[in-house]
């Protein structure tokens, strides 16, 4: 059976695949991508994870990690108070050392965006380079099981409330059954829903939920699909499914981003999220980014960590470097 319905025009896809963009051409392109050498990928990731990063490099890496964190709270039990304390932590991660950099963004559920914006006050980036962004998960996060109308309303609502970034989930059910056109259309539609009244767009991060995609080939296809549909960032996971972010999957996504950059000169961001809890792990990701996409990707608009407990571990390591002795959980906030 061939599916000939046209998919929504997206600039990138039209440029790469031609004007007569249909689900068939999209499917042919994605399934024509070369397969992933799983053993080679995992070996490469393991090799990149074995670098020894010490002293000044480590100090640099720790500060860089903090600058790249999307400080996240995505619990059913979230309250405005919880979000306010998250924002307080984002503004002053370590009250005992005010030289600690601020995180890139706070990531919350859509209904918590107004509280995050209010708590940030003048520190809210709101489209500028300075300050902290507010990211909102949308489109029936984390399952994505809702009608398109609901997903678009969810997105528009968060953008209207002041979200600078939207983390959307793809329809994994549709993707796994080969309905790439549907997934593509939804991403394009959500991207459109990210448009603000003044014509600018909120940054769109597309969550692939790699833990549910089963194969590396699927991760590669989903990455290409998300980029073609107009995603500004591709993000590994919701954090609600195990396995969440892994180093091989992130490496694979970085390779897609690198290939896209070589092909078009355009830079797409990558965000591993979920399961990165220690500074040691996070440093492995920094090495992987620098060695795969390039050091210029180590900036908040091109690489992010989706994390909550990671920040405290980085702060403990920072305290160890500055005081010369090991620190403990009593010296960071309880989140």
């Amino acid at each position: 059976m061939t599916i000939e319905n046209a998919v929504r025009p997206a600039e990138r896809a039209v440029q790469l695949l031609g004007d007569d963009l249909t689900e068939t051409t999209l499917k042919r392109y994605l399934e024509g991508l070369p397969g992933v050498d799983a053993v080679g990928l995992e070996q490469r990731a393991a090799g990149l994870g074995s670098r020894s990063i010490k002293t000044t490099s480590k100090a640099w890496a720790l500060d860089k990690i903090i600058e790249l964190i999307d400080l996240t709270t995505l619990e059913g039990a979230d309250t405005p108070g919880k979000v306010r304390s998250l924002v307080a932590k984002a503004l002053v991660p370590d009250a005992s050392d005010l030289s600690t950099p601020r995180v890139a963004a706070v990531c919350v559920y859509g209904d918590m965006v107004p509280y995050a914006v209010e708590a940030l006050g003048s520190a809210h980036a709101a489209g500028t380079d300075q300050g902290i962004n507010v990211a909102a998960v949308a489109t029936a996060f984390p399952s994505g099981r809702a009608s398109l109308a609901v997903k678009l309303a969810d997105t528009a609502d968060a953008v209207a409330a002041g979200a600078d970034e939207i983390d959307m989930v793809i329809d994994r059910g549709a993707f796994l059954s080969g309905r790439y056109g549907l997934v593509f259309d939804q991403i394009v539609a959500v991207k459109e829903a990210c448009r603000r009244a003044d014509g600018t767009y909120a940054h769109l991060k597309v969550i692939l939920e790699t833990g549910e995609l089963n194969t590396y080939d699927n991760v590669r296809r989903a990455s290409w699909l998300s980029i073609l549909a107009g995603g500004d960032f591709i993000k590994t996971s919701t954090g609600k499914v195990a396995p969440a972010a892994t180093l091989p999957v992130t490496l694979l996504m970085l390779e897609v981003v690198r290939d896209w950059h070589l092909l078009t000169g355009e830079k797409v961001g990558v965000k591993p999220a979920g399961g990165i809890r220690s500074s040691k792990d996070a440093i492995k990701y920094l090495v992987t980014v620098a060695e795969t996409a390039g050091e210029e990707w180590l900036q908040p608009h091109l690489f992010r960590f989706g994390a909550s407990s990671l920040l405290n571990d980085v702060l403990l390591q920072r305290q160890k470097l500055s005081t010369g002795h090991y620190s403990g959980a009593d010296y960071v906030t309880i989140d």
Binding site: Q319, G324, H325, Y326, S327, G328, A329, D330, Y331
Partner: protein, 286 residues
């Protein structure tokens, strides 16, 4: 067929597992006359760090266990010790160069002390706590509670008895322990770790490091996640500096002791590593 002897690799005991030192270092353990006995792992500051992480993770479970349960587990340690006494006696003879009867006496004393301390788990609160007199319609109760993670520099001139005398009292109230074993006699410490690993003691409650106390003790003394420091075996170290370091993070500290009576069994060794919690409670809802 002739049997080829399989010498044991003496490793560390961290978080219920027996890892080698992350540094990969080992050092030779010899008899007093210099005959090679075994290679023991020479732990580094990072092993000490990992041990503290394991000990911290074990605090809530061990301190949260009922006093009765802790007593049972510690008593079981004594039972398993008893079953392996031949191995301990043999190691003491070889490490310390003492007679078989002296080794037997040391093992006897070690088991006796362990049992003595095991009995205190559900009693030290009655002795160390108090119902305070108040002039009001409520109770005012002071209760000793475990302080948390205790770092111990074990007596350096004793292979088993000193170690037991230092760690058993810290375990009684529900503390977890990171112990630096005797540098010259580390084999009994690792064999004791094997006993602990097979006697229902939750993982991470006791962590045994072998190697140089001079190298590791400063890191443990300054570690912000260690709550107390027992310097009983630190008389040969710069222990005043260690106490100063410990004071920076408000640790409870016990000073070095020397001689045959070092770390003699005492209730004070149990209560030294407790925090007194005082609460009020209404007498009734009048």
């Amino acid at each position: 067929m002739s049997h080829v002897s399989v010498p044991k690799t003496y490793k560390l005991f961290i978080g219920g597992a027996f890892p080698r030192s992350e540094s990969g270092r080992v050092y030779e353990v010899t008899t007093p006359k210099g005959v090679f006995l075994a290679n023991a792992a020479q732990a580094s500051r990072k092993d000490a760090r990992d041990a503290v992480v394991a000990a911290r993770a074990a605090v809530s479970g061990w301190a949260g266990a009922t006093a009765y349960n802790r007593g049972q587990v510690l008593y079981r340690v004594a039972e398993v010790l008893e079953g392996r006494r031949a191995q301990f006696e043999d190691e003491i003879v070889r490490q310390e160069g003492v007679s078989a009867s002296a080794a037997r006496a040391q093992v006897d004393e070690a088991i006796d002390r362990w049992v003595w301390y095991a009995g205190w788990t559900d009693k030290y609160t009655q002795v160390g706590g108090n119902a305070n007199p108040v002039s009001g319609p409520y109770f005012n109760l002071s209760v000793p509670e475990p302080t948390g993670v205790v770092a111990v520099v074990a007596p350096q001139d004793s292979s088993l008895l000193g170690l037991v005398s230092a760690i058993a009292p810290a375990l009684v109230p529900g503390n977890t322990v990171v112990v630096i074993a005797s540098e010259a006699y580390p084999l009994s410490a690792i064999t004791l770790a094997e006993v602990l690993a097979t006697s229902d003691l939750p993982k991470g409650v006791v962590n045994v490091l072998t190697g140089s106390a001079a190298e590791m003790a400063p890191w443990l003394a300054a570690h912000a996640d260690v709550n107390a420091l027992d310097l009983v075996g630190a008389s040969a170290l710069d222990w005043v500096d260690l106490e100063i370091e410990a004071a920076q993070t408000l640790k409870r500290v016990l000073p070095p002791e020397e001689g045959p009576d070092a770390a003699a069994p005492a209730l004070a060794r149990i209560t030294a590593f407790t925090e007194l919690k005082t609460v009020w409670h209404t007498k009734s809802l009048l």
